[in-house]
Assembly symmetry: C2
Homo-oligomer: 154 residues x 2
């Protein structure tokens, strides 16, 4: 998988969180996901497919981080993961992928986006079943870490 | 969403389970998913995208059902959800969608498939964030029920 595929997603998520929630996140070093199981409480997942490439993006939040983002976006203090929170995660997943799609399209990579799905459940894990490597990028925030996983096949 | 989109997935999953695992499942009545939260232990998820339509498919198994399917496919008795099981769920998700894609392509609906992802976690739930209805179909088996969820936007 080419590094050109990763940076547009990093750029896009920082942009979405900053403009929508004034929420600062610092990306860590991208790594190839090997055996580690990355767990979280809420995950936005979206597929991407086209003639040139197919892929998937997952954004996995611990509860504390997504509740803070939701609070800043909506001004509502929530105490747990409910439909408002999962709607927000679906929306963030859509916006991040839409932003990355625009950047990648300018670089000549075209794909269509599937419908975002949101997984809720304490300490769930996600695996992407592909022969291509899965890249995992942690983000640190004042409320804890979240991470994204990206996998593309050309 | 048209009913033509649903039947190819039902036909395909029955075919995959029957030919690969000699496992009999009986589909129940398709319903529009409203507020009900359908929970499971392992879910295969895949996005579909094309110019005419975009969608997502989720196949959610309780642990007992997927362990029995894995046992019949591989002849191995497993005691819990491990990489062998999640690989199997990814493979089933891919095969079911590939089968449905072939049938739908003959009907003039074309789309590309994204990379399958597999969620593992006790009692997780999945929501599809779309304005189109989500159709949920339960399947009963001798080991318990599993279900699929399909959502398409034209």
């Amino acid at each position: 998988m080419k590094v050109e595929f990763i940076n547009p997603f990093l750029e896009s998520i920082l942009n979405v969180l900053n403009t929508m929630a004034m929420f600062k996140a610092t990306p860590g070093k991208p790594a190839i996901k090997k055996n580690q199981i990355a767990k979280g409480d809420v995950t936005g997942l979206i597929g991407m497919a086209g003639e040139q490439a197919r892929g998937t993006l997952a954004i996995t939040f611990p509860e504390g981080v997504i509740l803070e983002i939701t609070k800043r976006m909506l001004g509502e203090e929530l105490t747990g993961v409910d439909d408002t929170v999962t709607d927000m995660v679906g929306e963030i997943t859509n916006m991040v992928t839409g932003g990355a799609k625009r950047i990648l399209s300018e670089q000549g990579y075209r794909f269509d986006m599937a419908i975002p799905s949101v997984v809720a459940g304490k300490d769930h894990s996600i695996q992407h079943k592909s022969k291509s490597p899965v890249i995992i990028v942690p983000f640190s925030t004042e409320c804890g870490d979240f991470f994204i996983e990206i996998c593309f096949e050309e």
